[in-house]
Symmetry: C2
């Protein structure tokens, strides 16, 4: 999916919401556990309940891998289901991969060729040749970790060099030598507040994938105030706050309500663009 | 496996070789392609041919994930095969994971609980709370990326702060606040030469996992000269140089010969300890 189409979808739906499918078998409502594939059944219900309110889905690979083969099957079925019934959705595999070139090339083959996923989150620590193999697929996106939402983001990402440039700023600058805003986005945590201003100075036109609204405590209003650009430029993710909003048999309705709350706010914010 | 046992195995076998099972379906000998599970069949033959010459196996997850469900089955079968027939082998899942706490906890459950793997490679970019969930398993190891073997390692890992401390040095120091040398190792590429001296000043007692000998051009002699400590302190990995040493039906024999070449050199080096 290209950048213009993504922005079209955002305007049409009045939403820049991404629903994070961090589906944990230990948190799936009990009534689903007798199903053949409870993870997929849960995801399917969540997707059907939220697809008109969001523009992206982001399954986090960790939650599928921890189930072994069964989890991998549920992941593939989920991706196929979205692609078949909701082809306008932008699918992000949240995998935070990044390895030497030949290994990154294998990951690229897996996610972009075999599964035809739109975007993959990538960790920058290993530098250029760990990222560029993902850029050989026109229309596919690398979403590079820049400034993450967690407490540990302070440990290394804020380290400053002699020019006063922080590591995450160096990542933003250096990576723009590898790809432009038609193939690359950045992860910036919703908990980072004013840092969005600094980020917009370095990457004014890029889309930012913003986790951390909801369970992690980030504010949608603040993110938009400091992070939005004239083409929206934000994909805001909520995972636990939506998919576990209701833990009973009514989980899908609960998820819809939680997603709708965010979508209404987003729709109002988009009107100011 | 604890550190003392690992060192015992190294002395007993005269080897600190790790065989990297980066098994690519496109490079497996043609004669195996009619098998039910060519990846596992290939791995099994490689393992049987090399187990007396090495002390560790390191399957790289990327090569299995790119095959989807089939690849995941091959990975699990490979791990089970090693654990059943060669229980003294140290098994490293080369996954380079690292995510927010609850996600890292899912990965830890997957690799350490479900699969009972000994060690996992982890990327440090997201800091403390992305690493510590892996440290809740006594006898299990985190192998943190420090200074990698690839060209892109220069992009961020060598960034210096005002105190003249490089990012990889900061990773080495900071992470020692989270765990000691009984639970943590570091990845240092064989191509880094004299940098091993600097690393040993900061982490004198830790084991280092050293990829990059062989296909990537690192020198075993140099690595040992600057990186070895009095308990060996090195696990040197070769992947492509061993498993694809011979691309015909005699691939297992070829792998054995390539592993034996390294093991003989290692055995001689260990005598000088």
């Amino acid at each position: 999916m290209d950048k213009a189409t993504l922005f079209e979808n955002i305007k049409r739906k009045g939403s820049f919401l991404c629903v994070g499918l961090d589906t944990d078998i230990k948190k799936v409502p009990e009534c689903l556990l007798q199903e053949d594939d409870p993870i997929f059944t849960f995801n399917k219900a969540i997707i059907d309940a939220t697809a008109d309110l969001c523009i992206a889905y982001k399954p986090n690979l960790a939650f599928y891998e921890c189930m072994g083969v069964k989890g991998w099957i549920a992941f593939e079925k989920t991706v196929k289901y979205i692609k078949t019934f909701y082809p306008d959705q932008f699918i992000i595999a949240d995998a935070k991969r990044g390895d030497i070139g030949n290994t990154s090339a294998m990951y690229a083959r897996s996610f972009f060729e075999e599964m035809d996923i739109d975007a993959l989150t990538v960790a920058p620590y290993m530098g250029e040749d760990s990222v560029t193999p993902f850029l050989n697929y026109p229309g596919k996106w690398v979403i590079l970790l820049a400034l993450t939402s967690n407490k540990g983001s302070h440990d290394f990402q804020l380290m400053e060099n002699v020019q006063g440039e922080k590591l995450f700023e160096r990542v933003l600058k250096k990576s723009q030598e590898w790809a432009n805003d038609e193939q690359m986005m950045y992860v910036v945590g919703a908990t980072q507040g004013r840092a969005f201003e600094d980020i917009r100075k370095i990457a004014p036109h890029h889309f930012l994938l913003v986790p951390g609204v909801g369970a992690q405590g980030g504010s949608l209003e603040e993110v938009c105030k400091y992070g939005m650009n004239d083409q929206c430029g934000l994909i805001v993710n909520s995972s636990r706050g939506i998919i576990y909003a209701d833990k009973t048999i009514n989980f899908a309705e609960g998820a819809r309500n939680a997603a709708a709350d965010l979508q209404i706010q987003m729709s109002n914010i988009l009107k100011t663009l």
